[in-house]
Symmetry: C2
Subunit: 192 residues, 2 copies
DNA sequence: TCCTCCTATGCAACTAGTTGCATATACAAG
DNA sequence: CTTGTATATGCAACTAGTTGCATAGGAGGA
């Protein structure tokens, strides 16, 4: 189980409430680990009981009070332990691939719209990633700039960028592959 | 839930026992949908009760008797319904990305071996895919052959090949990205 | 003969994740 | 003054997936 660890990493990057975490899981972290707010609140409660996180009540005037969580020593140790443990490669749950193979026993042409819809979602996500990259990490390396920018490397920033580049590579791969799938589907059902 | 549908597709491609399905989920289908034998037996039992699959006892002399499952009309309809329903894009559970971001709060150099291990697994899987492609789908298009091979297109075969090409593209992308991650890790901890 | 491996099926208990609902504050629009 | 939206937290019930264990026949080797 790595939701615990994903939350710990996120809280180390920046402490926050369950609600704020839930919103982060709709963007940045959520792109490689999904979680709903119900799940997050439940895990926070358990981690609090285990002493992995500290809570601090934050009264707010303009909105409901919140609880700000931050990582405690025990949580840092638990994360470190997990980081040093080997993990299995991701377990895949790729519905679309099942559908594509299933289309052989149904109408392949009917799948075209679904594949196009998925491709659009991946294109949107790619655009979103690229905008985020331009905003947070400046223009892509090698584009402009004086020789050797003197910015000192920040490990957190560098690693976040590396993960984001992974997301970008994934979306590009998916868009290309879905082009391939669409070509295959059209070849099988030339009409339409 | 799509394990039901993944099983239905697999049984449509070829009827088989729970044990055989479990082994298929360690190879072909398993590359985009994981399942253990316990889960498969349980789902088969439920689908049998719902009339989605038919069972046929197959006595065997040299090994324990087995139950061969095949898709019933109701199962075909259920699959068709699912194929026509829009689905959400895959929910991602990418432990390694969490680890990479987490490495900023631990020792980045310690992650190098883990990343290399994952890269090797992806290289192995890529080699396995390419071998399977060469075996089942012949040499890659455009390599040789007389103009216009007269083989009639088989939808099932074509779509299986398209999914396999997706797996190949995925593994290549991962290998390249992990190269990128390794370069980043080395940049952050040059000495080791 | 015993031991291990492969085939073959399954239960029980647990953990993780999803879905649906409930509550409450504050602000803005109508 | 009601309605809608955003913030903020949570319970309960359900579904899906994992882990550990159990059983059993036949093949092949020590």
């Amino acid at each position: 189980m790595a939701l615990d660890h994903a939350i710990l990493v996120s809280l180390l990057e920046k402490p926050g409430s369950g609600y704020e975490l839930a919103r982060r899981f709709e963007r940045s972290i959520g792109y490689f680990w999904t979680a709903t707010h119900q799940q997050i609140y439940r895990v926070l409660k358990r981690m609090e009981a285990d002493g992995w996180v500290d809570v601090r009540g934050v009264p707010q005037r303009t909105r409901p009070d919140k609880k700000e969580y931050s990582v405690a020593a025990a949580g840092r140790e638990a994360l470190s332990r997990w980081l040093h443990d080997p993990i299995e490669p991701e377990s895949v749950r790729h519905d679309l691939a099942v559908k594509i193979r299933g289309a052989a026993f149904d109408d392949p042409a009917a799948l075209v719209r679904e594949v196009e819809r998925h491709q659009r979602m991946h294109q949107d996500r790619l655009a979103h990633y690229l905008a985020g990259e331009a905003r947070d990490f400046g223009p892509p390396a090698g584009a402009t700039g004086a020789p050797g920018s003197p910015v000192p490397p920040d490990p957190g920033r560098e690693l976040q960028h590396a993960v984001l580049r992974g997301g970008i590579a994934y979306e590009r791969m998916m868009i290309d592959w879905l082009d391939d799938v669409l070509a295959t589907l059209h070849r099988l059902a030339p009409g339409r």
